[in-house]
Amino acid sequence: MKDVREALFVGTATDGRTVRRPLSPHLQIYKPQLTSALSIFHRITGVALSAGTVLLVWWLVAAATSDASFATVSAVLHTWVGHLVLFGWTAALWYHFCAGMRHLVWDAGFGFELPQVHASAAVVLGATGALTVLTWLVGAVIL
């Protein structure tokens, strides 16, 4: 132990071994649960949406540049790969939106009992599916 702070990292694993505590929860240590799965999925969709903003920037910049560059973006987005990416983008957006609302409710101090946590998880998953399908149905009808 080089530093007194190291004392805070001494812990025991479930099999009794002495281990250095991880700084943040490690997926390979915790048993997968509904709560942890939704938590890490919030993070994954957040990172994916960050990458997805590049599409929005590309679309805006192309619209501000020329007819040719706007035609390129439109053509790429209208391929089946483009639609697949946009579908994933929609699903990630609605998941992060719904799970984010769940986090805001927690931040306000509500819904911490385990049955409530499981119920809100079901609501988030159901709403994500429904909103994603609804978005594409509306898109298919009006376009």
Binding site: V4, R5, A7, L8, L23, S24, R43, G46, V47, L49, S50, T53, V54, L56, V57, L60, V61, A63, A64, T65, D67, F70, S74, H78, L93, F97, G100, M101, H103, L104, D107, T135, V138, G139, I142, L143
Partner: protein, 133 residues
Amino acid sequence: MSTTPTQTIMRSGLGRARGLGSAKTGAAHWFAERVSSIALVPLTLWFVLAVFRLAGAPRAAVGAWLASPFNAALMLALVLITFQHSAMGLQVVMEDYIHAEKTRLGAILAMKAVTAILALMSVIAVLKLAIGG
């Protein structure tokens, strides 16, 4: 109600005794992330409706739509707050998973640079369409 004593401070006893803590700006970061997320709730709903209107539309229609100051202002708000929220979230992810200090600092600075440039590119594109279109 339970009668067992509860610990209301989420720090270990030893950490409190030693006066240890992050002593950084975690609370401000956490709060700003929440504030931006609240702003993004109505902006995201508006954006989805905007996409319904503009998906597959010709370029001239995008320009005409952004010529409305209301649409341009909301688009700027959406882009700026999205990139702010995204940069704050990505920073926390990097702080959690990149343990080597120099690599972590470098990654965070690079990410901030990329998100800032992307945000500025979007702002200039929106302004060009809003004012010049």
